[in-house]
Every structure is written in structure tokens, then in C-alpha cells.
């Protein structure tokens, strides 16, 4: 049905509020986006709960098949990423933390070095940067791998053989990514601390290794360790669930896999940052 366009002031006003290729009013586009987001959130939550229940109920079933896949996921998302994480950790230690310590020393605030280290690396950069690296390297390939399986009908073939696709495809990835990100985060923190001290040492800043470590230990609380474990575990879980959901949960064609990968990356970043904000709120309160 065609629409008649008039030159009345009302039409002009509404046209000025229209946007996008379909020339729909902004309010309609916003409404659609909100409804779509709520629907996606609902589906993601349902997918997460199904994954959780399958993990709890079937963890010890079909061990000969599922447990080797968990190990292979730990290798792919964890061990194989150690060099990359190590390299980024060294650079982070040098560029960010080292310079920060150097600056503190210049303004006579060296006693805050440990606290700055804990806040910057332990609470924020470590978990978040590690999660982003795993997302870029493993998360995208997960969407492509599962999306291809879905598009090629392999998921239906699994179901036809009585193999639970969540148990076989999703659970190993969730556990593998969660455990890998936890371990990689610890490596990241340790390596960036060492490289930060290397920077300090090269800058001839008068700080002994013992004093450096003591400051960090004094700034750390038990809750920091707990939060670190929780944060990195949930980042891994979010990345795995979102990427598996985008690849697997809906019918997909081969041509749509790249856009599904893009959606997964955006959603995973968004949810990780939101979770991070929740943890920051915890610290502030």
C-alpha cells in the first residue's frame, strides 16, 4: 500500500524524525530494537539454563566422548593462547603499568604502586583483556564451527543418533573456555607484574623487587582473589554461551555465519562489560 506524502507541517515534522533506510520513525525503530533485545535476552537466558542443567545432570555421562572434547577445548582456548596472552601481558606491563609506576615515582607517590597494580591489572585489565583475546581468537571460530555444523545439518544428525547437541557441543566449550580464561588471567597478571617491574628496573627507579611485591601483597584482599576467579569464570561462560547460542540455537544458512559471528562478538563484549560494571559496583559499595 502506497503512502501519500503531503507538505503539511505535521508531515514535515514526522519526516524529520524518520531515520534509517526504510524511513521509519525513530521511535518505532527504537521500540523494535528494545523488543528484539528483550527477546534475545530471554532466549539467551533459556539457553544458559539449559546448558547449566545439562552440565550438572550429564557431566559424568558419555565420558569417553565428552571429556576428551573438554580437554581439547582447554588446549585450544587455553594452552594455545599462552604465547599471545604472554605477549600482550608483557606489553601491558611495560606500557600501562610500568609508566604508571614511573609516574608515581616522579610525583613521590611510590607507596601507591601496589594499589595501582591491583586495581589496574588484578581487578580490571587482567580478566577483561584476557577475555577479549579469547573471544577474538576462539569465540569467533566457535560461532563459525557450530554455525557450519548447524547449516550442514550435522546437529540434526546428532539428534537423530540420540546425541544431545548441548551435551556434546556446548558443555565442553563452556567448561573449556571458563577454565581457560581463569588460567590465562592468572598468567596475564603474573607476566604483566614481572614486565612492569622490568620497566621500573630499566628506568632506574629506586624500588627493590621485595618492596614491589610487598606493596602488591598489602594492597590485595582475599575478596580480590574470589572476585578474580568469579569474574574470569563468568567472562568465559558468557563468551562460550553467547558464541554457542549464535552458532547453534537457531536455523542458520552458510551465508549468515559471518554476521552471526559479528553479532556474537558484539553481544559477548557487551555482556562482559556489563558484568564488569556489576563487579565495579560491588567494589564501590
Amino acid at each position: 500500500m502506497s503512502r501519500t506524502v503531503t507538505s503539511s507541517p505535521e508531515t514535515d515534522e514526522s519526516t524529520s524524525r524518520m531515520t534509517g533506510p526504510g524511513k521509519l520513525p525513530f521511535s518505532i525503530l527504537l521500540g523494535r530494537m528494545i523488543i528484539r533485545s528483550i527477546g534475545t535476552l530471554h532466549e539467551l537466558l533459556a539457553f544458559s539454563l539449559i546448558t547449566l542443567s545439562v552440565t550438572l545432570l550429564k557431566f559424568n555421562r558419555s565420558k569417553a566422548v565428552v571429556h576428551p572434547i573438554i580437554r581439547s577445548q582447554i588446549y585450544l582456548a587455553g594452552i594455545r593462547l599462552v604465547p599471545l596472552v604472554g605477549m600482550v601481558a608483557i606489553m601491558t606491563g611495560f606500557i600501562v603499568v610500568g609508566q604508571m609506576i614511573s609516574l608515581f615515582s616522579m610525583i613521590g607517590a611510590s607507596r601507591y604502586t601496589g594499589l595501582a597494580m591491583v586495581v589496574a591489572v588484578f581487578r580490571e585489565l587482567g580478566p577483561l583483556m584476557t577475555a577479549m583475546m579469547v573471544l577474538a581468537r576462539v569465540g569467533t571460530s566457535t560461532v563459525i564451527e557450530l554455525g557450519t555444523k548447524r547449516a550442514m545439518g550435522e546437529v540434526e544428525a546428532l539428534e537423530a543418533l540420540g546425541i544431545d547437541s548441548i551435551h556434546y557441543l556446548v558443555v565442553p566449550r563452556v567448561l573449556g573456555l571458563a577454565l581457560s580464561i581463569m588460567a590465562l588471567t592468572i598468567y596475564f597478571i603474573l607476566i604483566s607484574m614481572v614486565s612492569a617491574y622490568m620497566f621500573v628496573f630499566m628506568q632506574d627507579i629506586p624500588m627493590k623487587p621485595g618492596a614491589f611485591v610487598n606493596q602488591i601483597v598489602e594492597a590485595l584482599h582475599i575478596s580480590d582473589f574470589l572476585m578474580l576467579v568469579l569474574k574470569s569464570f563468568f567472562f568465559g561462560t558468557i563468551i562460550a554461551v553467547v558464541t554457542c547460542y549464535e552458532g547453534l540455537a537457531r536455523p542458520i544458512r552458510l551465508g549468515d555465519i559471518s554476521s552471526a559471528a559479528m553479532r556474537a562478538v558484539m553481544k559477548a563484549i557487551l555482556f562482559c562489560v556489563l558484568l564488569d560494571a556489576v563487579f565495579i559496583l560491588y567494589w564501590m559499595v
Binding site: S62, V65, A157, L161
Partner: protein
């Protein structure tokens, strides 16, 4: 070639559909068939014929329990699947095998051997040695022993389709569905399939399916083998007896699906 004869002593109903509505999975608003009633009995060898796009694949996907019917009840071995516990449903479902069309939907990232071992190891129905022995036996029966270590993704469509059959055999299903088994295979492999299925009906490696259902857009290879014919056209389901040649000769869809290759 011997036709697959129906068990004369009161054949047991293995799968039954009552008033089932089947929808198109890619176009949810489209219904393919409504109020569909179908019984698959022990000893049945069905061919489901219909023009391309008539919905044969969707029908057997519902009958095999892969897709859910929109309405109606589906019964596996006397148990209505909508009303049994998931674990009990899984046990019944393992008795239903499926060979998918267009290359068998094999697991591309696994080797030929691992494609067979995956369902065996996942369900842990026997010891590892027994599973391994059965998988090797299937590979030998299907002529795939020499390629057991090859990646399934690197096989030609002919061999992938055959691997799909080998994989469906691993769990020794009582009912075996084959979706367009000859659809992508060449003449040589097509002949192998027909000979192998003849052997399968007699029993192979200590196992034989109690009922077999194939879908086809060309009835020519099947018309003399089957003991039941089901036709789907425009949402209408029709069952025919292949021994009643008078009916077959006058049926326009049967004639079309035989493509004039058989003279009665």
C-alpha cells in the same frame, strides 16, 4: 532380487502417527499435511513417493522423531512420545535410524571410523572392544575399511552417503529411514545401494531392521522391492499396495514418478 515380504503373523506396529499435522520447517506458516495417520509395522518396506518439494523429507523427519509434529500423536513401539520421560524416549529413539539425503550429513571434522564410533561411545551400550569390533565390521560390510582414517569431509558425495548408512547402522535400529538414498549417488554406487539393501533385509552381521522406509522422487528402483507405497501430493497422503498393478498403472502420480521407465 527378492522383494521384502511382510511378516504374515500379525505384524507389530512399530511407529504410529495419529492425526498428525506436519509443517514446513523453513516456512513455519506452511502446513504440508494435516490429520495424517500412518502405521509402520514389522516387516514393512515402504517407499514414500512424491514430487520434489512435496514434503517427503519433513514427513519422515517427523516419523523418525527428529522434528516434532505440530499436532497429533506419535507412538514409538507402543509408547506415545509426548507422554514419556526423556530417558525412556531416548531409549526408544535409538531404535529408529536415519540416513539423511544429500551426502548423509556426516560429521565432517571426524574420520570415517570416528563417525561410527561417536554414537557407539556416546551411548555406551556395549564395551569399548565390542563397539570397536562392530564398527570395523560395518566398515567392512560397506566397503569402507580402506578409508577408515580419512576425514569424512574429504570423501566424495557417493562415499559420504554410504558413510551415512554405515553410521545409521551402528546402533542396530529396528526401523531404518533412508531419505533419498540414491539422490546424489552415481550409477555404480546406486547399484551397490540396491544390492546392499537387499542383503540388509535378509540380515547382516547378526542384525536386520524390522522395517525400512525410503523416500524417492523416482520410484523405478523401488517399485519391485517394496511391499508398501505411500504418496504425498498437495498435502494429501495416500497409501497403495504395490502388488495391485492395476491401481498403479492407472495412478497418474505413480506413472509420473516412474517417469515412463517401467511398462506394466
Amino acid at each position: 532380487m527378492e522383494p521384502f515380504h511382510q511378516d504374515p503373523s500379525s505384524p507389530e506396529v512399530l511407529i504410529e502417527m495419529k492425526d498428525v499435522t506436519v509443517g514446513n520447517s523453513s516456512l513455519p506458516e506452511n502446513l504440508l499435511v494435516e490429520a495424517w495417520n500412518w502405521k509402520i509395522k514389522s516387516g514393512d518396506f515402504w517407499v514414500l513417493g512424491g514430487m520434489s518439494g512435496a514434503g517427503k523429507t519433513e514427513l519422515i523427519s517427523v516419523a523418525a522423531g527428529i522434528h516434532k509434529p505440530r499436532k497429533g500423536s506419535l507412538t514409538f513401539f507402543g509408547k506415545e512420545v509426548q507422554h514419556i520421560e526423556p530417558e525412556a524416549y531416548l531409549r526408544e529413539k535409538l531404535n529408529v535410524g536415519m540416513v539423511f539425503e544429500d551426502g548423509g550429513r556426516v560429521f565432517h571434522d571426524l574420520s570415517v571410523y570416528d563417525n561410527l564410533m561417536l554414537p557407539l561411545n556416546y551411548h555406551e551400550l556395549a564395551t569399548a572392544d565390542q563397539n570397536q569390533k562392530w564398527a570395523l565390521q560395518i566398515l567392512e560390510m560397506t566397503g569402507m575399511s580402506s578409508m577408515m582414517d580419512q576425514s569424512a569431509g574429504k570423501l566424495s558425495r557417493n562415499w559420504r552417503q554410504r558413510l551415512g548408512l554405515a553410521r545409521a547402522m551402528t546402533l542396530r535400529p529396528e526401523v531404518l529411514f533412508l531419505d533419498h538414498p540414491l539422490g546424489v549417488v552415481d550409477a555404480y554406487h546406486g547399484q551397490w545401494w540396491l544390492v546392499f539393501l537387499d542383503e540388509l533385509f535378509k540380515g547382516i552381521g547378526g542384525w536386520k531392521p524390522r522395517s525400512v522406509i525410503v523416500t524417492a522422487s523416482d520410484l523405478t528402483p523401488w517399485i519391485d522391492r517394496v511391499n508398501r507405497i505411500g504418496l504425498i501430493r498437495g498435502g494429501v497422503w495416500e497409501e497403495l499396495d504395490p502388488s495391485n498393478r492395476d491401481v498403479l498403472t492407472q495412478h497418474d502420480l505413480v506413472r509420473a514418478l516412474l517417469a515412463g521407465t517401467i511398462q506394466f
